[in-house]
């Protein structure tokens, strides 16, 4: 459905000279610096996939989305989506996609969302009867019926965002792009939007691509993750693989009935490669790297050797993983 090959985008940025003299010289000749925002990006996406594009600020996510949606013209490389080349056949292509920009509104500020929907229906030439049925469903599932006739400027961010999602789906696109859709929203609204998206993916087999900073978005929605850094793709795979590659393994915390020291536990576990930390006199935690093989062993050994009153398993959160990726990358950069 989406095919991207060796995608590149370069920007020419004007470098201002310093000082008054510099400003004067800038009037006549300017210096430019070429910046590669997206560098040799390749990936393919199948129909019905739901995947996330993550990365630090300035990693090139937004530029990538803008090229995929036909807004920006790539400097080099190929994009084919739904059989169209986005920047060349823009007007035909955008009929088959929906886009939500978390930081930009596509609703008309002074009018009610309902008026905007009406206009969008004629923009996309949606069939009247079918469009109405679909819109009713959108309004119902996003729970926006109570404020859909108020002017957009009077809506709260959460209300507006749900209307934005509805607006992007008016024409029942096969592919939906969401650029940081949950920025600044409270947990409840986030959850509502996520549930809605998941449902959409299941019932309509809609392909959904989202960029986000919010790791819980990815956990709730996506199996596949693409990680970008400095314009390059540094990871493309399943969320579970990402966890294994960048995660800290699993941490098990044991609450003992008797006082136990870290040394005692170490003796019981032998020379198993694991990290033991004493949290307090009764609580010890064990950190293991490859959870699948080691975990049963650790659990059975500890259970049989000590009297345990409670066990807690702490898996590394995706948030930690993302932090790890960003940090690891900084280190590499520092060494280089």
């Amino acid at each position: 459905m989406i095919q991207v090959k060796h995608l590149q985008k370069e920007f020419r940025i004007h470098q201002a000279r310093s000082g008054l003299g510099g400003a004067f010289r800038d009037l006549f000749s300017r210096e430019y610096k070429t910046v590669k925002a997206v560098d040799d990006l390749s990936f393919t996406v199948e129909e019905g996939e739901m995947f996330a594009l993550i990365g630090e600020n300035g990693a090139g996510k937004s530029t990538t989305i803008k090229m995929l949606t036909g807004i920006l013209t790539p400097s080099d490389g190929e994009i084919v989506i739904n059989g169209y080349v986005p920047f060349k056949q823009r007007e035909e292509y955008v009929r088959s996609i929906g886009v939500v920009f978390g930081q930009r509104s596509q609703l008309w500020w002074d009018l009610s969302p309902l008026e905007s929907f009406r206009l969008l229906k004629s923009v996309y030439k949606v069939d009247e009867a079918e469009g109405e049925k679909w819109l009713t469903r959108l309004i119902e599932e996003l729970e926006i019926s109570s404020f859909v006739s108020q002017p957009v400027r009077k809506l709260s961010l959460g209300q507006r965002m749900r209307c934005e999602v509805a607006a992007s789906l008016i024409h029942k696109p096969r592919l939906l792009f969401l650029d940081e859709p949950t920025v600044g929203l409270d947990v409840l609204v986030k959850q509502k939007i996520r549930e809605f998206l998941r449902n959409l993916n299941e019932t309509e087999n809609m392909t959904i691509l989202l960029t986000t900073h919010d790791v819980s978005d990815i956990e709730a929605l996506c199996k596949r993750v693409l990680v970008m850094d400095k314009g390059k793709l540094i990871f493309d795979g399943l969320l579970s693989d990402l966890k294994e590659k960048w995660g800290n393994g699993t941490e098990v915390s044991f609450q003992m009935k008797k006082r136990t020291s870290a040394d005692e536990l170490r003796r019981a576990l032998g020379d198993m490669p694991c990290k033991i930390t004493q949290e307090n006199e009764y609580t010890l935690s064990v950190q293991v790297q490859q959870s699948q093989e080691m975990l049963p062993f650790v659990l059975s050994t500890v259970m049989s050797s000590f009297e345990v009153s409670d066990v807690k398993m702490l898996e590394t959160s995706t948030e930690d993983i993302v932090r790890n990726i960003y940090q690891a990358d900084t280190e590499v950069r520092d060494h280089a």
Binding site: F11, S62, I71, E91, Q106, D110, L111, E115, V123
Partner: protein, 264 residues
Amino acid sequence: MHRLYMELIRMRFLTMLAYRVNYYSGIIIYAINIGAYYFLWGAIYGDQQQLGGLSVEQMTSYVAIAWMSRAFYFNNIDMEIAQDVREGKVAIEMIRPYNYLSVKTAQAFGEGIFRFLFFAGPGIFLISLIIPFHFPATATDWGLYLLSLLFAFLINTQINLLTGLFTFFLFRNDGMMRAKRVVVDLMSGLVLPISFFPGWAQTVMGFLPFQAVNYYPSLIFTGAITHGRAWELIGFQAIWMVVILVPILVLWRMARNRLVVQGG
């Protein structure tokens, strides 16, 4: 496609209605302008019967109708385009299956119709009560005026599109847009009928599209020219419309390729 543009025009109409204070102050501003010019020209004419080929009555009608025409053709789409580019809103426009420039034109048209009906209509009625004012006598005269006014709208909108498009390359062109506004008002004959300019200036302006924006339709309205000449002027307008279309299309194509979306 037709339905889309009708809908866009309707939307802009509604948006204009949403701001009532703007609407009322607009009427007052137009009334003050027309009144000021009416008295100014009264003083300039003094005892003379004719100036530059126009009688006092024709002059008064000219001033009033020039401003009323302006209510229809005037719009700020250049500023809107500039704002879209500066704030990165073009991104939203580009994900829609329509041509950005045609959409802007349709919106401007919605605004024009609104002003024509709600500013110019009541305005001209009020003014005809106070100052001597003469309307075109026949339906043909009315038809010619309205046709010419439509072209005036299109040409002015094209000029605005052109200045607006420069924002894609310059990012800030407020100065240029302000200058354009003054130039259009002056050279279109809004402030002064073209026949009042010195000979050399008239020659220069003959090569510029601005008088097609206001002078032509206003002249037709006053009835100071024959039907034949009126058709000729409308012909000129049509030619200008086609001529200005060329740089717009070229600039638009260039702008698409070097579009930068500001702010993330």
